[in-house]
């Protein structure tokens, strides 16, 4: 029965060399790419490796990363959430409108977060109860929410937000010798929370199971519908939080804000190794994916790369990063 040749091959795979181990670990590959970029920019520009710039970059991708954590959970669970960009804009508008109407910061933020989560819940409901494909359900939702953004604001951005709200996005927290932007800290906190949820809880295990093989998961007694409801709700909540942070950083809630950000958010997850087929990936990957894209944008400006060619450079890096990852998977 047992094929001796096969056995020896398995035997070999059980004792990988250190090099193979490193290459097998996707995170380490990503970190290498990241470090290479940082090193290159540190050498070629005098401005990249300054505390101001690093923290600017951290803040700039924090909301994309936070939304990407939720997105990663959805994608790992076998779905996709196209409504996250619109959701970001809408939650920002809800919070801003409430603040302008005189509500307290806490109340406005909490209500906006609930709205974000409710939108995510609706997505989850459509996917799990009416069996709409996630692509269609969230594509429709993306448009519906964007319409609400325009409709409620008549196309005008909402301004004049109180200083106590701008604190969320504009303040820096002193930590050792640095002043770290609050959104970046919130991002790290949510990365840890998402990590614990995905890797250390039964629910997280179920998310991977549903995304890996929904049929097998349901046979083994996992309630797939409930898992989907939870991940979509979380995705909505995280996108909402990202939108609120972005709004408070800019001090304005525009109905056109975050247009097309869903693609950045999905790209961050995918660059970070989250498989679009589901069942595979991690939030740390999504975090690094978001970082890679923002560092690239930052680099193009610092290096004086012509603006007209920047989209091409970003596209090439997205493809390149995923290609390296695919090569790694096949080879090792």
């Amino acid at each position: 029965m047992a094929d001796p040749q096969l056995e020896t091959k398995e035997e070999k795979e059980r004792q990988p060399t250190l090099g193979t181990k490193i290459f097998r670990n996707q995170l380490i590959t990503l970190i290498f790419i990241l470090l290479a970029m940082v090193l290159f920019l540190g050498i070629t520009t005098s401005t990249f490796l300054t505390a101001t710039n690093i923290f600017n970059v951290l803040r700039a991708f924090s909301w994309i990363a936070i939304a990407a954590f939720g997105q990663s959970m959805v994608i790992i669970g076998g779905g996709i959430d196209l409504s996250s960009g619109s959701n970001m804009a809408f939650c920002g508008i809800v919070a801003a409108a409430l603040l302008v109407a005189g509500y307290s910061v806490t109340l406005a933020v909490v209500i906006a977060l609930v709205v974000g989560a409710a939108i995510g819940f609706l997505n989850g409901f459509m996917v799990s109860r009416t069996y709409l494909p996630p692509f269609i359900a969230t594509l429709g939702m993306m448009s519906i929410i964007r319409g609400f953004c325009y409709g409620l604001t008549n196309g005008w951005p909402i301004r004049g937000l109180p200083q106590s709200f701008l604190f969320l996005g504009q303040t820096d927290i002193s930590f050792l010798a640095w002043k770290i932007p609050l959104p970046a800290i919130i991002m790290v906190v949510f990365a840890i929370l998402s990590f614990i949820l995905l890797e250390k809880t039964k629910l997280g295990y179920h998310v991977y199971a549903v995304g890996g093989n929904e049929y097998a998961a349901s046979l083994s007694g996992i309630s797939c519908g409930r898992v989907k409801l939870v991940v979509f709700t979380l995705s909505g909540l995280f996108a909402g939080l990202g939108g609120i942070l972005m709004t408070s950083r800019l001090g304005v809630a525009a109905p056109t804000a975050a247009s097309g950000y869903e693609l950045d958010i999905i790209a961050a997850a995918v660059i970070g190794g989250v498989s679009l087929n589901g069942g595979e990936g991690s939030v740390w990957g999504a975090l690094i994916g978001a970082a890679l894209m923002q560092i690239l944008r930052n680099a193009l400006v610092l290096l004086g790369f012509p603006a007209y060619w920047q989209p091409s450079a970003i596209g090439a890096v997205i493809i390149g990063a995923v290609m390296i990852d695919q090569y790694r998977k096949r080879r090792f």
Binding site: T45, R159, L161, A257, V301, G304
Partner: protein, 336 residues
């Protein structure tokens, strides 16, 4: 006898109706006013101007004028073409349109004209179509005016950066071309970089700050549109510090209230703006004169440009507060 009386009554009434309809010249005109996009606030102001003119015409002339405000939500030529077709199918008496693309709209504009509906363009033209006139500014001249403003405040030497929206957008490219021609004669002025924000406030704020880091000794900025200025105070600390201290002079396009505040507080030195309100107010008058009074119009009507500096910013703020843009703006440089 009774029946005969009823008949006479009916016939009299009918005659009276026909006579009334024939003698009174009260006509109802519906003009479609189509912006580039519904999600761009400057068109809201144009719409107000259009409604204002319609109200005035209805009050001051025997006719009744109604404005139909329709458009695609986002700037999209294909969507806009569909909107024009819908408006033609619905039946209107005239169309004023700001074209998302000069070529893409030719076909539908010509179809409307062939169907007997006169079309004019405002803000963005489609010169090869059968539209009867274009009300707008030359973006090229606007760019030149911006260069002139910057030189007045910055001097004839310095490092300048440009912020644009979507690279390739015709109006923005024209402004940049005008700006570059405006500084051509001053070899001391160097454009060190051009950055793009893809019409996104967040990205605009980000690239301005990054540019301030890359070129800490920057002397001037030309914001080809308002984008980063929509963000609140404190969102661009590096730029704000440089601008407020007077080290870096910034000139921007458009004259929206957000920018006027920035100018009044000393962050901006000058603004070059189109007359958004006039886009609506004047175009409805032109359509009315063309159709009702059969007035002839030249191929291009210059709508003029507002130049705002610290000397006349208050008048502009006043105009916004009262929504009355009919008064001419005081000169930007009164000493001349």
């Amino acid at each position: 006898m009774r029946r005969g009386f009823t008949w006479i009554l009916i016939v009299t009434l009918l005659l009276a109706l026909v006579l009334l309809g024939g003698t009174a010249s009260a006509e109802k005109y519906t003009f479609a006013w189509i912006p580039k996009a519904l999600n761009n606030p400057v068109f809201e102001l144009g719409r107000e101007g259009a409604f204002q003119k319609a109200k005035e015409l209805t009050e001051q002339t025997p006719d009744e004028v109604e404005v139909l405000y329709v458009g695609s939500v986002a700037s999209d030529a294909a969507e806009q073409a569909r909107v024009v077709e819908d408006v033609v199918a619905r039946g209107v008496d005239g169309i004023a349109i700001s074209c998302n693309d000069p070529t893409a709209l030719i076909d539908v504009i010509n179809k409307a004209v062939d169907a007997g509906i006169p079309v004019m363009c405002f803000d963005a033209d489609s010169p090869d179509s059968k539209r009867f006139t274009y009300l707008g500014v030359s973006n090229y001249d606007g760019g030149k005016a911006a260069a002139d403003l910057l030189i007045r405040y910055m001097g004839t030497e310095g490092k300048v950066a440009l912020l644009t929206g979507v690279p390739g957008a015709l109006n923005l490219e024209e402004r940049i071309r005008g700006f570059k021609d405006g500084i051509k004669d001053y070899p001391g002025i160097e454009i060190v970089t051009t950055v793009a924000c893809y019409d996104d406030i967040n990205q605009g704020v980000q690239v301005v700050e990054e540019t301030m880091q890359a070129y800490p000794d920057l002397d001037g900025w030309f914001f080809v549109g308002i984008w980063p200025l929509f963000a609140g105070r404190g969102s661009m600390p590096l730029w704000e510090e440089a601008a407020k201290s007077g080290r870096c002079k910034t000139v921007a396009f458009d004259t929206l209230p957000e920018e006027l505040e920035y100018l009044k507080d000393g962050f901006l030195v000058g603004l070059v703006g189109q007359k958004y309100w006039g886009w609506g107010y004047d175009s409805i008058q032109i359509l009315y004169d063309y159709i009702v009074n059969e007035q002839e119009f030249p191929d291009w009507i210059d709508s003029g440009m507002d130049i705002v500096t610290i000397h006349n910013v208050d008048a502009m703020i006043e105009a916004w507060n009262t929504q009355d843009f009919t008064k001419p703006l005081p000169p930007p440089f009164p000493e001349e």
